[in-house]
Symmetry: C2
Subunit: 302 residues, 2 copies
């Protein structure tokens, strides 16, 4: 029951007629609307509260053990992004869910931003000549007190950066991979505060990403894609779409459409008896760490 | 035509009746037995030499572009380990090979050491209670002048360490994943000289790996697996197998069986029209970098 649970999950669940909130689980023992609450999933399982599904909103480092327990109970599992702190643990969850016959949803909320599907459709039959991703935000504003983000497995600036990659892997017509990466790691932290990654797609097209957690003033969450038929700009985290500078779609930028979209998708895969586990954004982040050069930069003090 | 091509590939090819050496490709323009030679694969493709297949023995950082070119020529491709410097590029090669109808072989030579299949068979119906992997070798002896190993994508001590992981992923009965990792990186290098990784399998069993490139004196390439029915020790890189201290299989430790085994497998998948691309060892290494804490250690000077 952290920031994202309150800001996004509770309103999205309240707005979805297919889903009813049965209980909450939080170390702090927080109740919502007088509903039953538990301090961990073991207490929930031992209670007389019946649940069909759980949404896990913890930091990635502790997600695997909780998710595995929930799958073993026969509960469908919705995982916040990123789906885990490593790729192999997500593969193990995927296999366990299949063996148990429950649905596993590795969610990528940014893919449900309003501009993403129109951007994907527009790019599908264009030839991309270059793409630039700029994701620069102020960590003090967006991740106040979130120490886990600076620990190994918290990914640092790749925590928001993976949102950009979840969009890019969805809208760009060809797969792409890391060629070089530079990760700026504060001398007092274990995860990068900034990163520059040069990707190339299978047609040889350059795709560059510039991530920075130190952005003051205007914040940037932009993906610019140049093509043989004009330039597409997806801005404000995927909610605003322009083509050659003309608005193709505009929303208020509050991204209120993302989490309702995720919960609609979750209900859909549960009904269909399927899982939805696309690890490609996490794989690109792992590749950036594997292939990247670490650069030690000045300490970060919140 | 580097060290591994001379030490292992040429003898293995010479000993395989299904495979005939047609030409060599090397920046240095080295010929073997008076056969045609070329400085790059583009020159080979433009020549009148007909080849069905290529074995790529380059460092991982340059492998993708060469492999993609070879797949586009319709050649079957054998890749030395590791199959690439990133996971996404290997996935792209796998897709390209399937689309072109050629066989792609991501080889793991240590899996063909003589003790590996007997170890796998013995462990298959045992319950593992703990496993310890110790891979400590002297980089000055085994990788003289190989500067690429210290660059991003060269993986440092994980270059031999991935051999251990290729065996462990083959013989251990359950999948396992990284829980914590510490990577010791020399202050003048980009890749780790030593690493300690704590894995856990899906049954909760601890699997620990200790990698060190600074080992003088006796060298260690050992995997010890404790089970409910005794302790298995696979030593000398997989060639010597003991169970509860009694020799279950012994060879001379020269590992001459590995590369002939790889080439027999390559011929087999080409005949069958299949690929063999298991990325799980590389995925564990990527996860160790993703989840790992970097520790700066004293400079390494060769």
């Amino acid at each position: 029951m952290g920031k994202i649970a309150h800001d996004q999950h509770l309103p999205a669940i309240a707005g979805n007629a297919d889903i009813e909130l049965a209980a909450t689980v939080s170390r702090s023992g927080e109740s919502v609307n007088g509903l039953p609450f538990f301090r961990n999933v073991e207490e929930l399982a031992a209670s007389d509260v019946t649940v069909d599904a759980v949404a896990l909103c913890t930091p990635p480092q502790v997600r695997h053990a909780i998710a595995m327990f929930c799958i073993e109970q026969g509960w469908h599992v919705f995982m916040e992004k990123p789906p885990g702190a490593t790729l192999a643990e997500v593969a193990a969850l995927d296999e366990a869910a299949k063996a148990k016959g429950v649905s596993l949803f590795a969610s990528w909320h940014s893919r449900y931003a309003d501009g993403v599907e129109p951007a994907r459709a527009w790019l599908a039959d264009r030839t991309v000549t270059a793409a630039t991703i700029t994701w620069r935000e102020d960590v003090r504003v967006w991740h106040p007190g979130q120490d886990w983000i600076w620990e190994p497995g918290g990914f640092g600036v790749f925590d928001p950066g993976i949102n950009a990659l979840s969009i890019a892997t969805r809208i760009l017509p060809k797969p792409f991979f890391v060629e070089t990466a530079e990760l700026d790691v504060p001398s007092n932290r274990a995860a990068p505060i900034a990163a520059r990654v040069a990707f190339r797609d299978t047609a040889g097209t350059a795709i560059d990403i510039d991530l920075d957690f130190r952005q003051e003033g205007p914040q940037h969450w932009d993906i610019e894609v140049r093509t043989d038929a004009g330039t597409l700009l997806l801005s404000k985290g995927g909610s605003v779409l322009t083509i050659d500078g003309k608005e193709a779609l505009s929303h208020d930028g509050d991204l209120h459409g993302e989490y309702p979209g995720l919960y609609a998708r979750f209900a859909e895969i549960v009904r269909a008896g399927e899982s939805d586990v696309d690890v490609s954004p996490l794989r690109l982040v792992a590749d950036a760490f594997l292939r990247g050069r670490h650069v030690t930069v000045e300490p970060f003090v919140e």
